[in-house]
Symmetry: C2
Subunit: 216 residues, 2 copies
């Protein structure tokens, strides 16, 4: 039985977790700590027990550099796509790939044909399983007082090519992981006034969608 104290600690953890882009250069993560994080990820639920997650640890420094370049190329394309907000966007720090202690790429494995629980939404459910694993990893990192950032600003085909993935695998996340100088007090996008989160009440509905609300 979990206790009230366990509950308080869990909610503290959930609230303290941040998408980090600032890391302590030159720091490291002990192998047994990294293992614990990956074990937590691997304990995630998955549709039909398919466990479609693969974790690629990047130890090759030239590969890390090429990944950083891929992300930089996509950052410039994002700037263009943002139009008038492009300049403000370029002021934001969006990743810590060069500085973080550990770099992981999480890959959606090639489809193994699992039917259970995914006959109608095969790709969606596999993806959701991978995301649950990443969220476990994120919380596990935070409880070790380590930061993690999920970078999704990349061309998945180009990154798949760098990692020599089979055609049917898809990289979903570049995870920057490691010690950080400090955790943000709020999501960095809020601190930088890029965007502000909405309240829980705006996300709650009863029985059906309201006729004209919450279209965003």
């Amino acid at each position: 039985m979990f206790s009230a104290q366990d509950r308080a600690a869990f909610h503290q953890l959930v609230q303290a977790r941040r998408d980090m882009r600032h890391f302590t250069p030159g720091a490291s993560v002990a192998p047994e700590v990294l293992r614990r994080l990956l074990q937590a990820a691997h304990h995630a639920p998955s549709v039909g027990l398919m466990q479609p997650w693969r974790f690629v640890r990047i130890t090759d420094t030239s590969l890390r550099r090429r990944i950083a370049e891929l992300v930089e190329a996509e950052r410039l394309k994002t700037c263009e796509a943002l139009g008038e907000r492009g300049d403000a966007f370029m002021q934001l720090k969006v990743e810590g790939i060069r500085e973080c202690a550990e770099l992981l790429v999480v890959v959606l494995a090639p489809d193994d044909g699992t039917v259970f629980g995914r006959r109608t939404m095969p790709k969606e459910m596999a993806l959701c399983s991978v995301a649950c694993a990443i969220q476990n990893l994120w919380l596990a990192a935070r409880v070790e007082n380590l930061g993690m950032g999920w970078v999704s600003m990349f061309d998945p085909v180009a990154l798949a090519h760098e990692l020599q993935l089979p055609d049917t695998a898809q990289p979903i996340a570049i995870l920057c992981l490691g010690p950080v100088p400090q955790f943000y007090d709020a999501p960095m996008l809020e601190l930088e006034d890029w965007r502000h989160g909405r309240s829980l009440d705006e996300m709650l509905l009863t029985n059906c969608w309201p006729p004209s609300a919450l279209r965003g």
Copy 2:
């Protein structure tokens, strides 16, 4: 700073979480507890802070019955699709929709046009954000000693119709939530010998995909 005790409690939680299909009939979840769970979900990370999750609480008993019927229809289609494993599949309990204390449907909201972090994988990244919220909710339920089951065995178009969702919203999960007689010691699909999980080591790669391994 989180402590070694916090870490131990977190990993215990991650390991104790189960996808539940057996619930205590006639039980309830206190409103303040349900609120805590939804707050944990709402504290999830989301790409570009778009918070694309919507939680539909099902309180209408006839709607709950129609949702159960939708899932039953998909269960029969899954049986057909499974071919020779169909009979064994029909022996499994795959959901607890009628018995669980609370029933929620989690919906991927209509795309709000967020570009940040999802120019190349817009649908994938929104979905992953919703899944992170569900994983937070799952852990938050477990730490309250409540069970949760993610039912994905449904036709999303038919369920969207029942909930009167706008065309561009998609239901992702039917969540059964509430007190359970007991938690499974291992994933139910393992206990029932339907499928067994693989080891973490099979999921780990370094720098690139190996030439001929892990294609599943």
